[in-house]
Symmetry: C2
Subunit: 744 residues, 2 copies
C-alpha cells in the first residue's frame, strides 16, 4: 500500500513532471505484480537497452557462428541445409540464450538439380565428333573438405535439359540489345548458334529467353574478369587464395528463373493441400539449355572465336582480342568445330524448411517486426548467406539472453526467419508470406533483411522503403565505424555515398529495393516497409560487380575471414546497426517512420515523370495535373500527420491514440499496393517500386507503358495503357494521402 500513497502524495503535491500515465503505471504494476498489466501500454524505447544490446554483440561469436555455418555446402534441401535447420532450432531453443519459441515451417516446392552421374558440361566438338575440349569443375581443388559433386556441381538452376550443338557466338551480356545488335546491325545469323555471354546486364534467365528469340539454341554463361576481378586473372599470385579475386576456375551458379516463389503454386503456399499448376504453364524460364563456366574455360572458347571484332564496349578481360564468331577462327585448334552445351538438370518437388523464431511482445503482441535471412547457399556460402546468418544468430543470442534473464521484453512481437531455398528464387520467404498473408499484412510493422552481411568492409549500405530511412539513420548514428571509434557509421556512410535531400540537406544515400533477396515478397507483395542492410565496398578501390567469390565454391570461411572481414568487425557493425533498427521498431511507443521521407521520394519520381514524359504526353492529351495534385495532397497529409505526432505525448496520451497514429504509419506502405495494377507481373503490387524495364527512374507502370507507347509506334491502345497507369499511380497516392490524413 505504501507505493500508492507515495505516488498519490506526489501528485497532490503538484509534482507536475510526473505524468498521470507514469503514476498510474507505477500503481498498477506494483499492485498486481504482473508485468503485462495494461498500464504498461505507454512502454517506450529504453536507450539503455539499446546500448546494452550493442555492447553485447560480439565479433568473435559471429566469427565462430560463420565457421560453423560454412563448414559444409548447404544447398537448399541437401544434407548440409538440414543440418543448419537443426543448428538454428538448437540455438533458438537454447534455455539460456534462446527465443520464446522456434519452429520449422515446411513447404514442398519445385527445385532444380544437376545429376550426380551425368554432370553438365560445355564441350568443343570437332566435325568428326572428337571432343577437343570439355569444361571441368576445378573449383574443388581449392577446398579442403570432401565435397559431394551432386551438391557443388555448377549449374543454371531451372535451365531445361538438352544437348544442343552449334557454332559459337559471343553475345556480350545477352540482353535484347546485345542480340539485336549482333543480328540486325552486324548481320550475324544466330539461328542454331550457341551463345557465350557474360554475367551481368540482365536477369540470368533473360540470357536464354532473349537469345531464343533470335534462334540461339544454347547459352554458356561466364564471369568476365573485367567485371568481377578488376581485370585480375592470374591464379599464381593475383586471385584467391592470394586475394579476394575469383580464381579462373570459379563458376558462378544461380537461379535462371524470373518469378519468385514456388512456380507451381503462385499466390498460394506450397502445402500438401495446394493445387499445383502443370509445369508447362511456368513462365519466365530460359527455353534453351544454359550452363555456367569459369573464365578459364571461357578463355578457351572466346579467345578462339573468329569473325569480326566485337563492337566498342563488348571487349572483356580475358587477355585476348574478342571476336564475335560465329565459330572459331581459321588456324585455331577448334577450327570448324561446334560447341555443345550438355545440360542434364532435373526438376523435383522437395521439402524446404523455414525456421521461425519468436519473441512475444508485451504491449502489442499483435504487431510484428520481422528480421530474416535465407539459410541455403550454392556451395559453402560463407558470405552468401551465412555472413548474414552468423550476424542474425548473434543478434538473437543477445536478445534471447535479455529475455531469458527477465531484463527485457519488446513492446511488439519480433519474428526471426531463416528462409529456405532463396537461391532458387526467394522460395521459402515467398511461401511463408503467402501462407500467413492476412496476418502479416495486417500486423507487420517492418521487415529487416540481412542476407550478405558484408560484401566488403568499407561502409554501410542500406536499401529500403523511404519510410525506414529515418530509423536506419538513427541507428547508424549510434554505431561506430570499425577501427574508428569516433566516426559513426552514419558519418562514414556520408563519406562514401550521399545525396542532397530537399527535406534534410546532405544525407547518406539509401538505395531502393529490387528483388535481390527475401525482402521482395514482404515489400512488393505485402507492402511491408522493408530494408536490406549490409557492409559494402569502397568504390574507389574496386569496380567488381559483386564480391568475386559470389555463388562459387570459393565463398568459404577462409575467404571471408581473410579477405572480406578480418576480425569480423564489419559483421559486428552490421549486427549492431540492424539490431538497433530492430529494437527501435519493436520498442518505440511511436513508430520511428517518417511519412515525409516517403513524400520526398515520390515527389522526385513525379518530377522525373514530368521532366521525361510531359512533352510527349501533352501531344497525346494526357495530363499529369491530377498526379501532381495527388503528390501535393500526399505531402500535406504527411505534414499534417507529423504535426499531430509532434503534439502527441505518448506517456500521457491514450494508448489507442498512439496506436492510431502508428497504424497510419504502418499502413502507409500498404496504400501503394494495387492487386490489379500489373496483371502480367506475379507478386508485384507496389505501384511505386515494382520492377520495370524502362531506365527512367519514375513510377514503374507509367515508365514501362510510356516506353511501350513511344517505342512501339504509339497505337491508341498503347497510349490508353499510359493513361491507365497515370490513373493507377494517382489513385495510389490519393489512397496514401487518405491513410495519413486525420482518420475521420
Amino acid at each position: 500500500m505504501k507505493v500508492w500513497l507515495v505516488a498519490l502524495i506526489s501528485v497532490l503535491g503538484g509534482a507536475t513532471t510526473l505524468t498521470i500515465g507514469l503514476l498510474l503505471g507505477h500503481l498498477a504494476i506494483q499492485k498486481d505484480g504482473g508485468a503485462e498489466r495494461w498500464l504498461d501500454a505507454t512502454q517506450d524505447i529504453d536507450e539503455s537497452v539499446i546500448q546494452h544490446f550493442m555492447g553485447a554483440v560480439d565479433s568473435k561469436r559471429i566469427e565462430e557462428n560463420l565457421r560453423e555455418l560454412a563448414k559444409k555446402p548447404h544447398m537448399a534441401t541437401t544434407k548440409g541445409d538440414l543440418d543448419l535447420v537443426n543448428l538454428m532450432l538448437d540455438r533458438w531453443n537454447n534455455k539460456e540464450t534462446g527465443l520464446d519459441e522456434a519452429k520449422k515451417v515446411t513447404y514442398n516446392v519445385l527445385l532444380s538439380f544437376p545429376q550426380k552421374d551425368k554432370p553438365n558440361s560445355v564441350a568443343v566438338v570437332a566435325p568428326n565428333g572428337t571432343q577437343l575440349f570439355t569444361s571441368r569443375v576445378k573449383e574443388l581443388n581449392y577446398t579442403k573438405d570432401q565435397l559431394d559433386p551432386d551438391v557443388v556441381q555448377p549449374f543454371a538452376a531451372f535451365a531445361p535439359p538438352g544437348t544442343p550443338k552449334g557454332k559459337l557466338v559471343y553475345a556480350n551480356y545477352g540482353t535484347m540489345d546485345d542480340y539485336q545488335r549482333l543480328n540486325q546491325t552486324l548481320g550475324i545469323d544466330l539461328n542454331n548458334t550457341i551463345a557465350i555471354v557474360k554475367y551481368g546486364g540482365t536477369g540470368r534467365e533473360d540470357k536464354g529467353i532473349n537469345g531464343a528469340k533470335f534462334g540461339v539454341i544454347g547459352v554458356i554463361v561466364y564471369t568476365d574478369p573485367a567485371d568481377i576481378n578488376d581485370g585480375k586473372v592470374n591464379d599464381r599470385n593475383e586471385t584467391y587464395p592470394h586475394s579476394w579475386y575469383l580464381p579462373p576456375s570459379g563458376v558462378e551458379r544461380g537461379s535462371y528463373k524470373l518469378n519468385f516463389g514456388d512456380q507451381l503454386t503462385p499466390y498460394y503456399p506450397a502445402k500438401d493441400y495446394t493445387f499445383r499448376l502443370p509445369e508447362s504453364s511456368i513462365r519466365g524460364l530460359s527455353p534453351i539449355p544454359a550452363q555456367p563456366i569459369g573464365f578459364e574455360d571461357a578463355r578457351h572458347l572466346i579467345c578462339g572465336l573468329g569473325g569480326d571484332d566485337v563492337p566498342n564496349g563488348w571487349q572483356g578481360g580475358l587477355g585476348c582480342k574478342y571476336h564475335m564468331g560465329p565459330g572459331f577462327h581459321n588456324g585455331s585448334s577448334f577450327e570448324n568445330s561446334d560447341v555443345q552445351v550438355n545440360v542434364f538438370n532435373r526438376q523435383e518437388t522437395k521439402a524446404s524448411d523455414n525456421v521461425i523464431g519468436i519473441i512475444r511482445g508485451s504491449v502489442e503482441p499483435d504487431r510484428y517486426v520481422i528480421y530474416g535471412n535465407h539459410r541455403d547457399s550454392w556451395v559453402h556460402g560463407a558470405i552468401d548467406p551465412s555472413s548474414g546468418t552468423a550476424v542474425m544468430l548473434e543478434v538473437t543470442r543477445v536478445l534471447g539472453k535479455m529475455v531469458k534473464d527477465g531484463k527485457w521484453r519488446p513492446r511488439r512481437s519480433i519474428i526471426f526467419g531463416s528462409w529456405g531455398a532463396e537461391e532458387f528464387g526467394l522460395i521459402g520467404s515467398t511461401e511463408w508470406t503467402e501462407e500467413y498473408y492476412k496476418k502479416l499484412i495486417e500486423r507487420t510493422v517492418g521487415y529487416i533483411n540481412v542476407d550478405i552481411a558484408v560484401f566488403a568492409n568499407a561502409t554501410l549500405r542500406a536499401l529500403g522503403s523511404p519510410a525506414v530511412q529515418s530509423v536506419v539513420f538513427d541507428a547508424a548514428r549510434q554505431v561506430s565505424t570499425p577501427g574508428h571509434r569516433d566516426l559513426s557509421v552514419y558519418d562514414n556512410w556520408m563519406k562514401h555515398s550521399n545525396r542532397t535531400s530537399p527535406l534534410h540537406g546532405a544525407i547518406p544515400n539509401m538505395g531502393t529495393l529490387g528483388a535481390g533477396s527475401d525482402y521482395a515478397p514482404f515489400f512488393h507483395y505485402l507492402g511491408i516497409s522493408s530494408m536490406d542492410i549490409a557492409y559494402t565496398y569502397d568504390r574507389s578501390k574496386t569496380k567488381a560487380r559483386i564480391y568475386p567469390a559470389y555463388h562459387t565454391a570459393y565463398d568459404t570461411f577462409d575467404y571471408a575471414s581473410r579477405f572480406i572481414d578480418p576480425g569480423f568487425t564489419s559483421h559486428q557493425t552490421v549486427g549492431r546497426t540492424a539490431g538497433n533498427v530492430l529494437l527501435r521498431l519493436a520498442d518505440s511507443a511511436l513508430l520511428p517512420f517518417n511519412a515525409s521521407d516517403y513524400t520526398e521520394a515520390i515527389d522526385q519520381l513525379y518530377r522525373t515523370a514530368q521532366k521525361e514524359f510531359a512533352a510527349e504526353l501533352n501531344k497525346q492529351n494526357i495530363s499529369l495535373g491530377h498526379l501532381e495534385s495527388a503528390v501535393k495532397r500526399l505531402r500535406e497529409a504527411a505534414d499534417g500527420l507529423n504535426a499531430r505526432i509532434s503534439e502527441l505525448n505518448v506517456r500521457s496520451e491514450s494508448p489507442l491514440k498512439v496506436r492510431m497514429v502508428n497504424d497510419q504509419l504502418m499502413l502507409l506502405e500498404r496504400a501503394f499496393l494495387d492487386p490489379v495494377a500489373f496483371p502480367d507481373k506475379l507478386y508485384y503490387r507496389h505501384v511505386v517500386y515494382a520492377s520495370k524495364a524502362s531506365a527512367v527512374q519514375t513510377f514503374p507502370g507509367l515508365a514501362d507503358a510510356y516506353q511501350r507507347a513511344t517505342g512501339g509506334g504509339g497505337g491508341a491502345d498503347a497510349w490508353a495503357e499510359v493513361r491507365k497507369h497515370v490513373t493507377i499511380v494517382t489513385y495510389a497516392l490519393e489512397s496514401a494521402a487518405s491513410t495519413l490524413e486525420a482518420v475521420i
Copy 2:
C-alpha cells in the same frame, strides 16, 4: 480534488467491485475535464443510451420524412435527386440534431436514360406497316403530380437502342433453360424473333443475353400477375388504389446490367483523374434492345399468341391460355403482324452524389461503423429506397441530438452514407468503396444497410454475414413487435422463420447477402461484415415476388402509408433494431461478433460439398480431406478466441489487448477475401459468399467449378479448376483460422 479522495478511500476500503479501470477513469476525467483523455479507453456500451435511443425513434417523424422524400420522382442525377441531396445535407448539418459533419462526394458515372422526345415503346405492326397497337405509359393517370416524362418513363436501363421487329414468342422467364427448351425441346426457331418474358427467375440483363444466343433480336419484359399480385388483375376493385397489388398499367423498371459500380472505371473511383475504358469493353449487358411494359399491355400481346400451348409451369396469370408463338394466332386482330421493340436509350456520364455524414468516435475514431442506404429511385420511390432513408434520417436525428446535447459520443466513428445511382447498379456505394478502399478495409468494423425498410409489416428480415448474427439477435431481443408490446422482434421473427443451429438450437433464420443492394461492395469487395435489415412479408398471406409496386410509378407515399405500413410502426421497429445494432457496434468495448457463428455456417457449407460432391470427386482423385481439416482448425481457433474473450475483463485489461481481440473479430471477414480467386467476376473476392451459378449451397467457386466439370463432360482442365477451388477455399479457411488464433 475531493473526487480523488473519495475514490481513493473506496479502494483503500477494499471496495473490490470498483475496478481499477473505473477508478482511474473517474480520476482522469475529473482532473482534466477533457472527455477524450486516455482513461476513457475502457468506455463500454451503456444500455441506458440504447434505451434512450430506442424510445426517441418516432414513427410520426419517419412518416413525415417519407412524405417529404417521396414528394417528387428522384431518379439518380435528376432534379428530384439533387433536391434530396440538399435535404440530406440540411438535416445532417442541422445545429440541434445534425451530425458532426456532412459532405457531398461526387462521381462522374456512366448512366442510361430514355429520351423525352422519343419515348420507348412496344408496337404491333401489321404487314402493311400499320401500327395496330402501341404500349403507352398509363401509370401517370394514377399519380397526382405533374410528372416529367423524361424522368418517369419506363425503360430498361443500359439496354441498347434499336427498333428490332419480328415474330413474337413467349419465353417464360428468359433463362437459358427457358430458351433452350423453346428452341431444342419444342423446336421453335428463335432467329429474328422478339421474346416476351416475365420478370423473375434470372438477372434482368440475362433475359437479353440468353435470348441473343438463340437469335432473339429484342426482348419485352413484364410483371406477370401470377408472380406479383397473387393472381389479382382487376383495377376496378382488386389492385392499387384498392389494395397493395400492382395495377395493370404498372411497369417495373430496372438496371439491365450485370456488374456493379461504374462500368467504365472498374476498381477505380470515377473521378476526374480516372481513365475510362472504351464503352465497347463493357461486359454483362443485354446485346439486344429490351423494354419493360405493364401486364395490361402484355395481355394484348400474350393472349393473342398462336402456336402450341406452353409447357407445364409456364402459364401465368393474365387470364388467358398462354401459347408460345411464334406470331399471333389465326383470327386474332394481330394475325400475321410483327412486334417491334422501340428503344431510344442513350448513355451519358453524369455527376452522381453520395452524401456522407459523420459522428466522430471518442476512443477509437479510427474504427468505423457504417450505416447506409441509396437515395435515388426509379420514380417516387417511397418504399424503394425512401422507406430506408426516412428511417435513416430519424436514426441520425436522434443520435445527432444526443451528440449535440453533449450526452453521448460513440466509442468508434459512425459514418452514414446516402448513396447515389444504386438503381443503375450500386454505383454510388461502389465508387465510394473504391475511392476509400484502403482506409475502409483497414478500419471498418461493420456495414448496416437499410434500403427498403418495409416490404410488408409482418416480421423482421435480416440478411448478413454470420459474424453479425449475434448482434442482430441481441438487438431484436430488445425491440417490441408493433402492436404487441410483450412480443419481441426476435420472438416474432422466430414464428415466421427459424432454423435449428448446432450451436444455439432453434433461432431465427438470417439470410445470406447477395448483391441486391449497396452492401454488396462492402461485403464482396472489401470483406466487411455487413447486413441488410428490413421488415417483410407474412409468407402465409402472399406469394408476391416482391411488394407489387416495386420499381413502378405506384411506389408512392400514399401506397406506403395506406398499404405497406399504416402508422409507420414497422418503420419505427426497423429504425430501433438497426439503430440498436449500430450502437452496439459503435459502443461495445468488445465487438459483439461471434466467430463461432461463422464456423457453424462454414461447417454447413462444407457438409453440403461433402454430401453433394464427394462421390464424384473421389473418382477424380480429388480429396476434401484438407478442406475438412481447415474447417476443424477454424472451429478450434474460434473456440480458442471465445475462451480468451471470456477471460478478458474489458474494464481492467489493457485497451490494446481489447483492441487486439477486436481486430481479430473485425478482420475475420477479411480473411475470406482472395483477389485472384475469381478472375472473371468483377469485385467478387469473398471466397465463402461470392455469386454463383450452381444451386448447391456451398462454396461458390467450388460449386461452379464442379458444375462446369460435371456438366461440360469433365475435361482435365475442368477438373483442374475444381482442384484449384478446393485449394482456394482451404487456403481462405486456414487464413481465417490464423487470424483468430493467438496472435503470436
